[in-house]
């Protein structure tokens, strides 16, 4: 390394790209702590984590798709459908409603994956289409209305809203999901192959990796995690609705990208997404705190998304930017 030291190089280095989001997160925390002393106490942090949990679950799912160089635009629809199914089925099925709702996510994740891989449809269109299919189903099942989880059902969702050793259950669930996803990406054959496919699909294919299967598993994982997020959201709000998670698609994708996972694939991971989700959450709290109109949140996240993509993208990987 005897080339000149330049800011551009620093920004393009893999190590710094991983560290920037973390530095940003710490800086944001410090700013808030200075502006409103007492923020960094156990109680508010637990609340912060609890509010980030659903976003983190969704974002972790998309991380799989983005690591492969694809995208999943159906997560908000899958999460909403899961919430509708949980609310609808709790009275009749009891606890069995949980696995059924989550399995619906698996089914539609698999559908996205199979459409994408077998019909060779680009992932953003494939998932846009399955998202439409799922939204239609959710509207149909719920008759276009929000379904309240009644008293009897709330007894069965109470465990999700409980606190254990001072930690909200949702935080433990999302931590468990984060750890399992982290380990799956780092130590399983699927995880290594997923990163290889994202880093260079032709090379991965030439090395004998079953690219199709890896992609389908990734989209299935994204579907399952979206459905779990939907179930948790429904339990927290005591209601299911076909548009429940619609506002979460953009923050979830933004969380992944802001965390430092490149949309070109092969670079990034769940730990980065955790950092990204916390950043998004804190920015949201900060905006309310500073007095930014709540309707402007979408504008800020849209701009943040564009900026983060522009910084993290690996342009050498795309011949023509379409």
């Amino acid at each position: 390394m005897n080339e000149g030291f330049s800011i551009k190089q620093v920004f393009e280095g893999k190590w710094t790209q991983g560290a920037i989001p973390l530095v940003l997160l710490v800086a944001l925390l410090l700013i808030i702590e200075i502006a409103a002393p007492g923020f960094l106490t156990g109680e508010t942090l637990a609340l912060l984590f609890a509010n980030t949990a659903v976003l983190f679950m969704l974002a972790t799912g998309v991380t799989f798709a983005i690591l492969l160089g694809g995208i999943d635009l159906s997560i908000q629809a899958v999460a909403s459908l899961a919430s509708v199914m949980l609310a609808q089925l709790l009275p009749s099925l009891g606890f069995a409603a949980f696995p059924v709702a989550i399995l619906s996510g698996l089914a539609f994740g698999l559908l996205s994956g199979i459409v994408h891989v077998k019909l060779r449809v680009p992932s953003f269109v494939a998932t846009l289409a399955t998202g439409g299919v799922v939204t239609g189903l959710a509207l149909w099942v719920s008759n276009g209305r929000a379904i309240t989880i009644e008293e009897a059902g709330r007894e069965k969702t109470a465990w999700i809203n409980a606190t254990i050793f001072g930690l909200p259950m949702v935080v433990l669930i999302s931590a468990l999901i984060g750890i399992v996803s982290f380990l799956a990406l780092r130590y399983t054959r699927f995880g290594r192959q997923a990163i290889a496919v994202g880093a260079g699909e032709p090379a991965a294919w030439a090395a004998g990796i079953n690219v199709d299967r890896t992609k389908i598993i990734a989209f299935a994982a994204s579907g399952i995690l979206a459905a779990i997020a939907g179930v948790v959201l429904a339990a927290r709000l005591s209601s299911g609705s076909p548009v429940l998670a619609n506002q979460l698609l953009l923050p979830a994708i933004a969380a992944v990208i802001v965390g430092g996972t490149a949309i070109t694939g092969g670079l990034g991971g769940v730990a980065r997404t955790a950092v990204g989700a916390l950043i998004i959450s804190i920015v949201r709290i900060g905006m309310t705190f500073v007095g930014v109109n709540i309707f402007l949140e979408n504008m800020v996240f849209g701009a943040v998304l564009i900026a983060a993509v522009a910084i993290t993208i690996d342009r050498s990987k795309i011949a023509v930017i379409k």
Partner: protein, 327 residues
Amino acid sequence: MTFLPGRIAIMLGGRRWRSLAPLAVLVVLCVLITIANPNFIELRNLVRLANSAAVPLTLAMGLTFIIVMGSIDLSVEGTLSVAAMVVVLLAANDSNGNDYGWWAVLAAIAAGTVMGLISGLVQTMLRIPSFMATLGMWFIGLGLSVYMLGGSAIRLNDASIRNLALHRFLGLPLAVWVALGAFALAAVIQYHTRLGRHILAIGGDEDVTKLSGVNVVRVRIAAFALAGFFFGIAGVLAAAQLGQSHAVIGDGRLFAAVTAVVVGGTALTGGEGGVVNTLIGVLIVTVLANGMILLGISPYIQQTVQGLMIIAAVALSLDRVRLKIVK
């Protein structure tokens, strides 16, 4: 790897047949629905059909240019809601004292064009894929319009703008004529202007186009601005039809527009198809939606059917030889 739909496409005779397939689907669909419910071909229903096709047709015209170029514009709903917001807030309304009449319409179309221009600039200058650039612009537009509307629905009271939806000329609402005008304009741009040819060329092969001396960046920016122009018109029509603007005025529009373009036979890989295909695609989507209502099928299931149509159409139309890696 040839999967079943690919094989069917080859079996059915390749390119030439494929270009006629959408038209055949449209005719078969009309015949089947008429058999199931003769009310379908009543004049009143056909006018209703044309009326509900107006906004999707205008939107899809803009989107066609982007898809023919091999890109995608996900900001359809954001841009439409910005235009609808501008027209409602500047014309006579029940929220502020403005009454700029048709200047509001011009401002709304200009706002749509500017949104498209920004998408184009972001995509080419920051060099990021269009689906990410426009995903960001989608929510920027949505956030802006909801913020300006204050999260509520605001009524449009300007009678002459409302007439776009209410007044009829030769039996059809003016909005339909505006949409047909948009179609004619798009057809002229695509077939008779340099911009149209360059857009098609970029979709065919961007590198070759660049080597032929075309300023690819400028064409891309112009194409996104053009798309924004059409979305702006569609926003005005939507506001006129609803008589108001609200936070969810754009809901489901992106989906319908993408379905129409893709079902019409414009390939997502770019360089194939065009505005005439899209006209047929819009008619297929609208006829199907109308038919489902006539047959008493829950309107909620429409998105599901559209989603399946996107999958089927894309699977049948993708030129797989050109696609080594699908991401």
